[in-house]
């Protein structure tokens, strides 16, 4: 009973935060609401017995990706136009498409799956560790190489190059940096 109440609260928090992310007109508010949604998902992981995933979610998403997103928001906007910085286009058509998708998903979920399945589990963190280093070792190694490539690639792409030829024509950001 208590478990259901906690689940309902966490789920409502997650959905509310995701809703603010999707509908807010202020991009900074949107970014912080996404932070809330990610924390809520981490809570749901924890409630399903996936403590390892909950911790990874907190470290990678909340600690890493959100900092990146906030940096990108702050670096690509001038403070004065933050309030109009998150315009939507064709909201009606997009709402119809999203609602139709949601309807189909909910129909499939509530018609196709037995309803009395409970999900609480023992922690399976040791099993994840064993499997990552045995069955899923190739994927683990490929992920390591991918992360190295991403590290180098992101630095290369975002690096500040000086182009004397195009310095005068590259928009307002150029003057601000100087």
């Amino acid at each position: 009973m208590l478990n259901s109440v906690i689940f309902f609260c966490v789920a409502a928090f997650t959905i509310a935060a995701a809703g603010v992310t999707a509908f807010s007109h202020n991009i900074v508010r949107s970014a912080f609401a996404l932070l809330g949604a990610l924390i809520g998902v981490a809570g749901l992981f924890g409630m399903m017995g996936a403590d390892f995933l909950a911790v990874v979610q907190m470290m990678v998403y909340v600690g890493g990706v959100m900092v990146l997103v906030l940096f990108a928001v702050m670096l690509t906007h001038r403070i004065r136009d933050v309030n109009i910085s998150n315009q939507s286009m064709n909201p009606a058509a997009a709402a119809v498409i999203s609602a139709a998708t949601l309807g189909m998903l909910l129909f499939g979920i509530w018609e196709g799956i037995p309803s009395d399945t409970h999900l609480e589990h023992e922690s399976i963190t040791p099993l994840i560790g064993e499997n990552l280093l045995s069955t899923y070792l190739p994927a683990f190694l490929v992920a390591a190489i991918l992360l190295l490539a991403v590290l180098v690639g992101a630095v290369t792409i975002a690096r500040h190059r000086t182009h004397p030829k195009t310095a005068g024509t590259a928009g307002p950001a150029q003057e601000e940096r100087a």
């Binding site: 992310t21 990874v56 690509t76 286009m89 997009a94 999203s98 998903l105 799956i113 994840i128 928009g171």
Partner: protein, 105 residues
């Protein structure tokens, strides 16, 4: 807390992320929508992984490993995408995807 309740939350998250991706003009906001969609997929993986496990003593772990891999890919994708967005902003002075309609300045 049944498998359906978790899947319902994931479906709502997915729809909100889809709406975000479809409507936003700002590239960073579109990326936020993609993150919501990836999180919905992760919730589904974990829910189904627990759902198909043969017993509590011998749980299924594939979905959890998949979710870890998705988190790694999402982090990589976010890093590259934000680097590209920064580079675009430097060159074009905007990150509104409507205005980014040329391959060179």
């Amino acid at each position: 807390m049944t498998v359906q309740s978790v899947l319902t939350v994931a479906a709502v998250l997915f729809s909100l992320g889809l709406y975000c991706v479809l409507t936003r003009k700002n590239a960073v906001s579109i990326l936020m929508g993609v993150e919501l969609i990836l999180n919905a997929a992760n919730l589904n993986f974990v829910a189904f992984s627990n759902f198909v496990g043969p017993s509590v003593a011998e749980p299924e772990v594939a979905g959890h490993v998949f979710a870890v891999m998705i988190i790694v890919l999402a982090a990589a994708e976010a890093a590259i995408a934000l680097a590209i967005i920064l580079a675009i902003f430097r060159r074009m002075g905007t990150v509104e995807v409507d205005n980014l309609n040329q391959l060179r300045e």
